[in-house]
């Protein structure tokens, strides 16, 4: 065992050249479509309430302000631009998520996020397909529904199964005592991660849609076939999750209720509660235009382009060498 510092980059020169080409492709794509590139803070005063995202706290002291959070996504700031009437916007930014490190994760990563005024989720999925397949040269994605995928690969109906049936299905991976405090959505996430995801996007890219309303996050929800469905989509290629998009929720009251529900979940699981971003909620009050938005992981897109399995191969300096 050696403690010699590693100074060399983790990615090859060829990988970093491809990264630069990818960025040029993205900028060309949006320039051609007349979408404005913007830059919003990566250091903000608020983090997110999302119970499954851990922000990284900053210790800023400037003016009368202290604290701060490295942003997990530029979503709230970008939506404030839309509310101010700036129209469709995109951004390439670094985002930060604590505790996420592995072959597919680095605590700091590159996110491409964009919002399209007047688009619904289906229109935005088509644009995601143009961008991703234009860069990768792949076939356009097929669309798979959450319910069907769970039935096919996890052998359970995510809408009709009782909590007990779901837990029992999870016993393939977790001991009963580990399952005792796992929520219904936690069980669904386990099945999605271990039973379903590895199968997604194998033959051709696949959009997953039709998420249960409990996993809507910031997407609007509608009733479809008697089920509450979130207008949310993800794209998978070779079992790798690439993006997450919504037909955006514009209702400020509903947004506040979801933030408060997140904080209740946080309280229950012993995570710190997060202060609500009142500036974001005020922008929704003023009026967010009808829009859809999506966040796409650029490091992962490059992994697929280069056919590599480890995110370290596309990062100049992954966190443990940064």
């Amino acid at each position: 065992m050696t403690n010699e510092p590693v100074w060399q980059p983790s990615a090859s020169q060829a990988a970093l050249k491809s990264r630069a080409q990818q960025l040029a492709f993205v900028r060309g794509f949006f320039a051609h479509r007349g979408v404005l590139e913007v830059e919003t803070p990566i250091l903000g005063q608020h983090g997110v309430t999302d119970p499954n995202l851990d922000g990284i706290q900053a210790h800023v002291s400037a003016g009368a302000r202290t604290g701060g959070w490295l942003q997990t996504s530029p979503e709230y700031h970008m939506k404030r631009l839309l509310a101010a009437g700036f129209g469709s916007v995109y951004q390439v930014s670094r985002v930060f998520r604590n505790g996420e490190l592995g072959r597919r994760h680095n605590p700091e990563f590159s996110m491409l996020e964009w919002y399209r005024e007047g688009f619904d989720d289906v229109a935005l999925m088509s644009e995601v397909s143009d961008l991703v397949c234009g860069w990768l040269g792949c076939q356009p994605p097929e669309t798979i529904h959450y319910r069907g995928a769970m039935e096919r690969w996890a052998n359970i109906d995510p809408f009709e199964a009782t909590d007990r049936e779901l837990r029992r299905r999870c016993e393939q991976w977790l001991e009963p005592e580990q399952l005792a405090d796992l929520s219904r959505d936690g069980c669904l996430d386990l099945l999605m991660s271990f039973a379903v995801e590895p199968n997604l996007g194998r033959q051709r890219p696949a959009f997953m849609t039709g998420y249960p309303a409990s996993q809507a996050s910031l997407a609007r929800v509608s009733t479809w076939d008697g089920l509450e469905i979130a207008h949310r989509f993800e794209l998978y290629i070779d079992g790798l999750e690439l993006c997450n998009g919504y037909w955006e929720l514009t209702d400020p009251q509903e947004q506040r209720r979801r933030f408060e529900a997140d904080n209740r979940l946080r309280r229950r699981s012993g995570s710190p509660e997060m202060a609500l971003d009142e500036a974001f909620l005020a922008a929704l009050e003023r009026g967010l235009p009808e829009c859809s938005g999506v966040a796409l992981g650029l490091d992962r897109l490059l992994m697929i382009k280069l056919g590599v399995e480890d995110i370290r191969e596309v990062l100049a300096f992954p966190f443990d060498q940064a």
Partner: protein, 191 residues
Amino acid sequence: MASYSTNEFRGGLKVLLDGDPCIILENEFVKPGKGQAFNRVKLRNLMTNRVWERTFKSGESLEAADVIDQDMEYLYTDGEFWHFMLTDGSFEQYPADAKAVGDTLKWLKEQDVYTVTLYNGAPLSVTPPNFVELEVVDTDPGMKGDTAQGGTKPATLSTGAVVNVPLFITIGEVLKVDTRSGEYVNRVKSS
């Protein structure tokens, strides 16, 4: 005793699982972008040597196992225990039982240095160095001049280990052997 949370998991970490000391071999972080995170962990149970695959919810923790590796010189056996001594100058001795010595028995030579893994202060396992040098005590008569031929024959070493050696090897020669594969490497020139 200290404990490790999932975000401290890494290869080589020694933890207690179901009461047994285990070493983490692999740790994979799995998380849907908007969902619950999990760690898929491969561990080897140091008591049974069996490899386990277990899943943990992010944030769960495991107790640290008091397991350390120490260099020790093999001294002697009294038939029930094999006695080892720390090489750090403390002369502290540790008796290892047959279970701890295990397959390393056939590579044990007095005064050689082994890695003894201690669990709660008692020997849990004994690992030989990758290469040992041992004398041939029995083998069929050598066939001098036959060095080019690829044939092999069994040879019994001073510790009782039997390895396949080239036909030209004779009794009394000292051989270098790879303990991981149990294969002959070369003759050691007698000084």
